[in-house]
């Protein structure tokens, strides 16, 4: 399938018909225009949201405690980085060279040591009520950040505003905002040789001329109906999405954004030919082409056994390479100022190494990283105690983190949504943006 997608630009050149009509400016955009008119600063910021699924070990990557006893400090050692006095783990040699483009928040804390509930709180900023949130497709309690963005700002161009790669992220759904704010899920790994994006290319047996005949026939058949029932907002709205879908199929820019094969091999290798590496590269291509929010899922970090071995050999090397390459590449292309990179996880891992040489779930204190989009980088905010067990300085709640992310994206965290019950809810309740990282 890969060649069909990657080399197919000319073979599948459609005439672009019509424009993406009918999309009215969202309230958000009107606010933005109003802000611009009043001379307040506005900017379009996109987001690459990397979720380390399973629980990222803060003490082995971002918040090392070399003075702690062996059963706590583990096998990793701090190394110097590009920012004097800021240390990361020796397993992150490449990230160490780009810490000037990273803000490490070491004081994350919440109360839920269950994966599913951890996803929910870290994906939405809201601690969920009772229930099982593993495999949660449509966060029944609160929309995730990507859906909030999709609700408020659909972005320019043909790309969907919120794309998930390679898979749907748990709790990455729109809740009451509805299917229109659900992510467009790639469901294919860009590192795989047969990577393709579902449904954006024609089925194999359908040639370009044949597809053009079909599209022409469809326009003919619909024309009459559109006239007689133009009043129906339902018809109009479907029409808009057909236009969008069609332009996604036919827009050179949109198709090229998905076509990771267009990158030079050297660039692909810089990111690493791994799932995370290629997802990061694809994300850069997507935000470059106007996608507002790309979420990346990277799994298998639940190191209940053989923690050191798993991190050193399987997990961190690809992470190290991908993150360093992403930040470097964004900066090189002048995209870092307009792209917020979030590296987050559902929780950290237990201070004490268990009898299987693993670490278990630990939400009391952990680290996440932010980069780009005017974030004050080259610093660590907050601190944990001597065992990296509890937050000793500057705790940051998931709601604080949510407020920070939205603020950087130019969205007021207190924006009210209305639930189907008619209840007003704020995008973020009870959180305050972390001033230390805001410029």
């Amino acid at each position: 399938m890969l060649p069909a997608f990657c080399d197919g630009i000319d073979r599948r050149g459609f005439l672009r018909v019509g424009s993406v009509a009918g999309l009215s400016l969202s309230q958000f955009l009107r606010c933005k225009q109003a802000a611009a008119a009043e001379g307040r600063e506005t900017r379009d910021v996109n987001c690459i949201f990397i979720f380390i699924v399973g629980g990222m070990p803060h003490q082995d990557m971002w918040d090392l405690k070399p003075e702690a006893p062996a059963e706590i400090r583990g096998d990793f050692k701090p190394i110097d980085t590009a920012v004097p006095g800021l240390y990361v783990s020796d397993v992150l040699p490449r990230v160490a060279t780009v810490t000037d483009k990273l803000a490490i928040l070491r004081g994350l804390t919440h109360g839920d040591s269950d994966h599913g509930r951890g996803f929910h709180v870290m994906m939405t900023g809201l601690a969920p009520g009772a229930g099982d949130f593993n495999g949660n497709q449509n966060n029944n309690q609160h929309p995730c950040f990507g859906s909030m963005v999709a609700h408020l700002d659909r972005g320019p161009g043909a790309l969907p505003p919120y794309i998930s790669v390679p898979n749907f992220l748990n709790s990455g759904g729109p809740a009451f905002l509805g299917a229109g704010c659900a992510p467009f899920v790639i469901e294919s790994d860009p590192a795989a040789p047969d990577f393709s994006v579902r449904d954006i290319t024609l089925p194999e047996e359908i040639t370009d001329p044949r597809s053009q005949r079909r599209q022409a026939a469809l326009r003919q058949v619909n024309r009459f109906r559109r006239r007689v029932e133009e009043i129906s907002s339902q018809v109009r709205s479907l029409d808009t999405f057909y236009e969008k879908a069609y332009s996604l199929m036919t827009s050179e820019a949109a198709r090229q954004a998905f076509d990771i094969g267009r990158e030079a091999d050297s660039v692909r290798e810089e990111y690493g030919m791994t799932s995370l590496g290629q997802c990061c590269l694809l994300s850069r291509r997507l935000v470059e082409a106007g996608c507002r929010f790309v979420s990346i899922e990277n799994g298998h970090w639940d190191t209940h056994r053989k923690n050191t071995e798993s991190l050193r050999e399987l997990l961190v090397p690809s992470f190290d390479r991908a993150i360093a390459a992403l930040l470097t590449d964004l900066e090189r292309r002048g995209l870092l100022d307009s792209t917020l990179v979030v590296i987050t996880t559902e929780f950290g891992r237990t201070p004490r190494i268990n009898e299987l040489a693993g670490r278990d779930h630990w939400p009391q204190a952990f680290s996440i990283c932010l980069a780009g989009a005017g974030i004050k980088m080259g610093q660590a905010v907050g601190a944990t105690d001597k065992h990296a067990a509890y937050v000793a300085d500057r705790p940051v709640t998931p709601a604080d983190m949510a407020a920070t992310i939205l603020t950087v994206l130019g969205i007021d965290p207190l924006t009210e949504l209305e639930t189907p019950l008619g209840r007003p809810v704020q995008l973020v309740s009870g959180g305050r943006a972390v001033a230390e990282v805001l410029s």
Binding site: D132, Q137, A179, G180, I200, Q234, M249
Partner: protein, 824 residues
């Protein structure tokens, strides 16, 4: 973003109501015009409300409502147009249609307009002092009006910057404590009231996150100042409290771009009345039709339609209904054909609004609509042919009967109700979900009366692996959630709001919520084995309010405490109360659900939010449907029959000039999308293939699935709900890019179109005539014969490609067309 437009923060006068207006003000005679001309618009009389005025206290004002009656029966508000004069200006003065106290005494107000005159006696007393302020009666409503205690500000659970009020003022004692005592009492400064932090913040003299909420020259400010100066009394325990509010007018027909004053009067527990027009809050549900300002002045826009204005004062609510007819209404309204009482009630509304209904839909459109709406299934080509060639004038009625009797009926309606009853495999396990779904399907297959099966469901007990309805109590596990779900699913009362605070638009309090939850307090669950539970009533338990620990009597909404709670399963009493014919919600909700299902829009929207402040767009019709359902013994099919046979249901979706913008009066059929399962089945049916559903026998329909978690990309992107909220709102009909891409490009859809056993392959082999293939494909996909345009399009396709390929392309075109994707 919000549907409501509130203007809580404009100029207003908050009133303290210690003494009464003279009662009986609603029955004044109107001044008669001397020589009302023959013209319909001639003014015949002038009405004044109230017709006697007593102002007690130096902060008192009285809103006037002045109305002229025209010869044609129309009423016009002239509150701001009429001339007002006071005999003794030293006693009272008139401003902007309001009367304010100046000094104690008696005088007379003269109202004159269009040559008519009315005289109203006015008495002013107690003007030398500010009347005693009552915290709960006077101060709290102010916080609600100004938004201080709303969920986004000091009312949220964590308060705002250390100052926390109960949301909507549901807990006066805690609020008093917060204002008077907390923060070491620094919020009030009785020695110099105007320097109180409370006032400095509210007027933004000191920086206030919420900005300026009141001006220093406002009545609100005077009220708070007086309260602090009076040493911030809690107020007399015996002070009369608000028992209800009355609004005038309660309904009115208005012209576009006109004004209407609303008069709001509180009725106190001692029977006294007080003008609260300036202190009440006003909300409109249709700001484009009629918006409303603080102070109760409504203004209509350019858009014809209806608006309901909710007037809220101290947790009491009343509604004013405005109608704005189309200005270019037909001079002579035609006599419209009537199939049954539904038509009369809808036509009557349309006549008032100056709207003409669309034509009757043609036979093919009607048949496809009937099939899809009633059994979630496309009519087969041979059925379409048989119907179209049936010459009998009563054929629609006969086919309605035939469709209601089809097997798919039970599948489709079980699917619909499985959404509401949360039949979720993830929560219930396979056996539980299967059993509950199977039970539901049986109820519909047997057309068991709605009240009977709801009773059985609400009182279910036993082994969840054997008794389907028991699983309802496994999907919903706490008394609080049961109160919420039962109330929303069967009564359309969103009592959930009152779980934590007084309902913002209704009279329901926490006591009502926990009173309802009490019926489920005795339910226990024992695990039998993985995914199987025994559910039973273990004995009645008291319910207590979480905050105060006060015991709440178990009783239905607005109902009596049953006498035998200790000796029976209380759910029996609840079920009896719910399904009693006099229950004001049960049959209305069921009727509204059915109406919405068939007509695309509820008479009340959202369909499960019945309350006085959310009136039906056609109250007489909803009343009629609800009464009919109860009278027919809750026979759902019987009500469906009534709806399906009405001319209203059978109208065309093509609008005319007069009803193009109408989205609430059912003047034409509102086009709608098919639910995910129906669409998937329709694609299979039109392509002559069957969807392979993992673990199900070949040929299983998607509408017959009990497993809502069956992996299916198609069902996911087309909005299959997760079934975690007791409403139909989880089922999304929003279009997305992924849907459009899937229908156009998915290999799965392409395989159906080109399948060797599919309809294209079969027609290609059977017929040598291209036109015949086109005809059959149109019948299969669209339920009608091909139009000229479609024949032209097909001819073009057939001229460009081999027959088989062209036929596939034509079917692809039909499947992606509006005519296929929508129910018309």
């Amino acid at each position: 973003m919000s549907r409501r437009s509130t203007s809580r923060f404009r100029r207003h006068f908050a009133g303290h109501c210690a003494l009464a207006l003279v009662a009986g003000l609603w029955a004044c005679a109107a001044a008669q015009g001397g020589d009302a001309g023959p013209a319909a618009t001639a003014i015949v009389s002038l009405g004044v409300e109230p017709c006697e005025i007593t102002l007690s206290g130096n902060n008192r004002q009285q809103q006037l409502l002045l109305t002229v009656h025209r010869a044609d029966g129309r009423l016009l508000d002239v509150t701001r147009l009429a001339e007002l004069s006071i005999e003794s200006p030293g006693v009272a003065r008139a401003v902007d249609g309001r009367l304010a106290a100046v000094a104690d005494g008696e005088t007379e107000l003269t109202v004159s307009h269009a040559g008519l005159e009315r005289r109203i006696p006015v008495r002013v007393q107690g003007c030398d002092s500010y009347p005693p302020v009552h915290f709960a009666n006077d101060v709290l409503p102010l916080f609600s009006k100004l938004g201080c205690n709303s969920g986004g500000c000091h009312g949220k659970a964590s308060g705002q910057n250390g100052f926390k009020l109960s949301v909507f003022g549901f807990d006066p004692a805690a609020d008093y404590d917060a204002i008077v005592k907390q923060a070491r009492g620094r919020r009030l400064f009785p020695a110099s009231p105007r320097h109180s932090l409370l006032l400095a913040k509210a007027t933004a003299r000191l920086p206030h996150g919420g900005g300026q909420r009141m001006a220093e020259d406002s009545g609100d400010y005077q009220l708070l100042l007086a309260w602090i100066a009076q040493a911030a009394p809690l107020g007399d325990d015996d002070a009369p409290s608000v028992a209800a509010i009355r609004v005038s007018p309660s309904q009115r027909v208005l012209a576009p771009s006109s004004q209407q004053q609303i008069l709001a009067t509180a009725v106190y527990s001692d029977g006294s009345l007080c003008d609260v027009t300036a202190a009440a809050t006003y909300t409109t549900n249709a700001p484009l039709v009629a918006d409303v300002q603080s102070g109760g002045l409504a203004e209509t826009g350019q858009v014809p339609g209806e608006a309901a204005i909710t007037v809220n004062y101290m947790g009491h609510v009343a509604v004013v209904a405005f109608q704005v007819p189309r200005p270019e209404a037909p001079a002579v309204y035609p006599d419209l054909p009537v199939h049954n009482p539904i038509d009369e009630l809808v036509w009557s509304k349309l006549r008032n609004m100056g709207i003409l209904p669309s034509e009757l839909a043609d036979d093919a459109t009607f048949l496809r609509r009937l099939y899809l709406d009633t059994i979630g299934t496309l009519p087969a080509p041979e059925e379409v042919r048989a119907f179209l060639s049936d010459p009998a004038p009563d054929k629609r009625g006969r086919w309605i009967e035939a469709v209601l009797a089809r097997d798919e009926y039970a599948d489709y309606w079980a699917l619909k109700w499985a959404d509401v009853l949360l039949v979720d495999r993830k929560q219930l396990g396979e056996r539980g979900a299967f059993e509950l779904h199977r039970w539901l399907r049986r109820q519909f297959a047997a057309n068991r009366p709605y009240d009977e099966w709801v009773q059985e469901l609400i009182t279910a007990g036993g082994n969840s692996a054997r008794e389907g309805p028991v699983n309802f109590f496994r999907a919903v596990r706490t008394p609080e959630e049961l109160a919420r779900n039962v109330s929303q699913a069967f009564l359309g009362v969103r009592i959930e709001c009152a779980h934590c605070h007084h309902h913002p638009f209704e009279k329901w309090s926490q006591t009502d919520f926990y009173g309802l939850a009490g019926f489920f307090s005795g339910i226990e669950r024992k695990t039998i084995s993985e995914g199987r539970e025994l559910v039973y009533h273990a004995g009645y338990r008291e319910t207590r309010l979480p905050l105060t620990g006060a015991v709440v009597p178990t009783r239905p909404l607005d109902g009596q405490v049953p006498s035998d709670l200790e000796t029976v399963d209380p759910r029996l009493r609840l079920a009896e109360w719910m399904t009693a014919p006099e229950n004001p919600w049960f049959s209305r909700l069921a009727a509204n659900r059915l109406w919405k299902h068939f007509l695309g829009r509820g008479l009340v929207e959202p369909e499960d939010d019945l309350r006085t402040t959310n009136p039906a767009t056609n109250e007489p019709l909803l009343d009629h449907l609800a009464r009919q359902l109860a009278a027919d013994g809750y026979d759902l099919k019987s009500l469906m029959r009534l709806i399906l046979n009405s001319r209203v249901y059978q109208l065309s979706s093509v609008p005319n000039d007069s009803n193009r913008d109408d989205e609430q009066n059912f003047s034409h059929y509102y086009v709608k999308r098919m639910p995910a399962e129906v669409l998937l089945d329709a694609i299979s049916q039109a392509t002559g293939t069957s969807e392979v559903l993992a673990g199900y026998p070949p040929g299983t329909r998607a509408i017959a699935l009990w497993d809502n978690r069956l992996p299916s990309y198609f069902l996911e992107i087309f909005g299959r709900p997760e079934r975690n909220s007791p409403c139909e709102c989880g089922r999304s009909s929003e279009p997305t890019i992924a849907q459009a891409l899937h229908l156009m490009n998915a290999p799965e859809v392409e395989q159906k179109i080109s399948s060797a056993g599919g309809s294209v392959a079969r027609l290609h082999d059977e017929h040598s005539d291209d036109a015949r293939i086109v005809e059959e494909l149109c019948l299969a996909a669209l339920g009608r014969r091909a139009t000229e345009r479609e024949i032209d399009v097909a001819r073009e396709l057939f001229s460009q490609a081999p027959r088989r390929e062209a036929a596939e392309d034509f079917l692809w075109t039909l499947l992606n067309s509006y005519d296929f994707l929508f129910v018309h």
